[in-house]
């Protein structure tokens, strides 16, 4: 349970960090909160030759709100989001999901960007970023690029990040008027990774769904965007008489679309069932809040 040897760098500027990462190429790893990386190093599931610790880069410790939305820098910890009223009120989906990430000590160290870069299929942040139509800001010694969330996640623990690149920030657009959001997940014990979860946003106009976005957590590949359910919900009336039927149909579409695998935590059929239940609950929560506007 001890890590193998690595070279350790703790650069004091972003330029220096990017230079070290460029030189290291595929042998380099960013060390952010360490809440996923250190367990893998301790268990020797991973033996990177070079660790680039970004914890001294204060410039990345920024949580900014402008009219274009929220920007979360690479040193913002899960706990920082939970202490920020702008996030609580402006991005309630992100806030609620973050409450369900792990335990206090893990949230004190683990970063939001690290969670996104890691892309654990059961993690909350990748799905939230997809649901909120967020953007990943990527830097390397060669410059910067931005990717929409959906293009960033490419599979289990895999992303579009290339050697020499790092995530410097995430962007979340402002929530449109008339929108309600809901995030629910199911885990056997508080703070555990979810067996299944769902993130939903609904924008209502005169009782009709103008826009729906739905992403399911824990189904194997990373964030699963439930497009069939979204399309079905668009333009549907969601009044007291029609909502149950609409949401049951959405859950059915989700169950038909997801492809979970059996593992030690749950069978595939149980996960599929849970995906439907979580979908329904997330939509109900989102609708109740959309109506409250």
């Amino acid at each position: 349970m001890k890590p193998a040897w690595f070279d350790y760098y703790a650069p004091r500027s972003l330029d220096e960090a990017l230079r070290i990462l460029a030189d290291a190429g595929p042998n380099g790893r960013v060390l952010a909160g360490g809440q996923s990386l250190m367990p893998m190093l301790n268990c020797r599931l991973l033996n990177p030759a070079i660790l680039v610790d970004i914890n001294r880069l204060e410039v990345l410790n920024s949580l900014d709100v402008t009219k274009d939305g929220l920007t979360v820098g690479a040193l913002v910890r899960h706990a920082d989001l939970l202490h920020d009223d702008r996030v609580r009120h402006g991005w309630p989906l992100l806030f609620e999901a973050t409450k369900q990430v792990a335990h206090p000590a893990i949230r004190n160290r683990g970063t939001v960007c690290g969670s996104v870069a890691h892309n654990d299929p059961a993690a909350e942040h990748p799905s939230v970023l997809v649901t909120l139509d967020g953007t990943v800001v990527i830097a390397s010694a060669a410059g910067r690029r931005e990717l929409p969330a959906e293009q960033f996640f490419t599979g289990i623990l895999s992303t579009a990040l290339q050697p020499g690149e790092m995530v410097v920030a995430l962007r979340y657009p402002p929530q449109p008027a008339g929108t309600g959001t809901g995030f629910v997940e199911f885990a056997r014990r508080l703070g555990d990774f979810a067996m299944a979860g769902a993130a939903a946003t609904l924008t209502l106009r005169d009782g009709v769904c103008e826009h729906a976005r739905l992403t399911v957590v824990g189904m194997g590949e990373g964030p699963f965007r439930a497009r069939a359910a979204e399309n079905m919900l668009a333009a549907r009336r969601l009044g007291a008489d029609d909502r149950n039927e609409a949401f049951a149909e959405a859950a059915e579409k989700v169950r038909a679309a997801v492809e979970p695998a059996d593992d030690v935590h749950a069978s595939a059929s149980y996960r599929r069932h849970l995906a439907g239940v979580m979908t329904q609950r997330a939509l109900e929560t989102a609708l109740a809040r959309a109506g409250a506007h």
Binding site: Q35, A102, A105, L190, G191
Partner: protein
Amino acid sequence: MPREQNIRLNVNGRVYERTVPVRLSLADFLRDHLHLTGTHLGCEHGVCGACTISMNGRSARSCLTLAVQADGAEIVTIEGLRAADGSRHPLQQAFLENFGLQCGYCTPGMLITAIELLRENPQPSEQDVREALSGNICRCTGYQAIVDSVLAVARDTQGSKKREIV
């Protein structure tokens, strides 16, 4: 790249300067180099919470932190909880009075985590306490007595005694 580095940090109010391997965890540094063996290691991958210490005022897993990352930091471990006159921290006393520990393996992590909770939320509900301690595993008590201990201190600090938590 040198495989050892100098670090200087404050542990329980005392400043230490040491040369450490870069791959050494903060937990092993505290236990093996400073002989502060009150910080326990259960799993070494972040799950059990026994190694939880306070780093710059926030709880952290010392098994998931490198000693070199603690360069310049202020650390508080279970050994730092007693008052200068040697008396127990109120939460230690409450664990003693409410049977909040049996073998004691989980206790250091429980105390550090609960102290942070009470600082942020001096009047937690039972559910708040259970959520805060969800990342700390105890194989003896069944948790109820631990939750009772934390709630006892919360009640106590509300009353006339107003004891200092941190």
